[in-house]
Symmetry: C2
Subunit: 143 residues, 2 copies
Amino acid sequence: MEIALDEARLAVGRGEVPVGAVIVDGSGAVVARAGNETRLRNDPTAHAEVLAIRQAAAALGAERLSGCDLYVTLEPCAMCAGAISFARLRRLYYGADDPKGGGVAHGGRFFAQPTCHHRPDVYAGIGEAAAAELLRGFFAAKR
Amino acid sequence: MEIALDEARLAVGRGEVPVGAVIVDGSGAVVARAGNETRLRNDPTAHAEVLAIRQAAAALGAERLSGCDLYVTLEPCAMCAGAISFARLRRLYYGADDPKGGGVAHGGRFFAQPTCHHRPDVYAGIGEAAAAELLRGFFAAKR
């Protein structure tokens, strides 16, 4: 999660919402790391999780990341929850809750739906304080 | 929708689930068209809708596709519904319903959630018969 927080800090420097994500394989080796790049790339799908999943799938030459785990500083949205499920990620560790935009513990709670065909094990609140503080600082500076 | 169906037919030829998508701007000009490429790209996020949104955003040099409309042959999943919302697409026209994996009229119904901050106008059942027939043929051939 420290690496994910570093990616979130790098995102701030690019004027992006500070969210970072890391994917590790079964041995704990980092296979992908990314921060939000929606502005930099002019791509509304370029959330940290989606970028990390695309990066890991490309690195491993596989559409499915079975046995890999994702660490992300913020509760994934509906889009990212869908991507996590399709990627067959084994475990999801996330930091801050996102009552306004989250799709795991809030909103459509994708993993709890019968339309979700792979559910990772979910661990919430990992590194929550640091992740939430980064987001608070970012949005306070925007006001 | 005819172009989206053509993209779905091209996807079959690549061994992909036959779903196609098109984005048109306010004048009706096609700005992006894509079919599923999850296998070809080894990318679990490469659904037709996500590829079309990324293509359109790149073409228009903007993160938001306000004023543009999306045509897709199948009800979007949770991931694609999220992407459609983030892209600020104006209207969504889709073909076949997807009770097993849909995220618009099924599952978490993302656009109906308080965590969804932009809802397109949604028109279902457009070109439904042709879209459903393509999917039925594809899955029948896989058995």
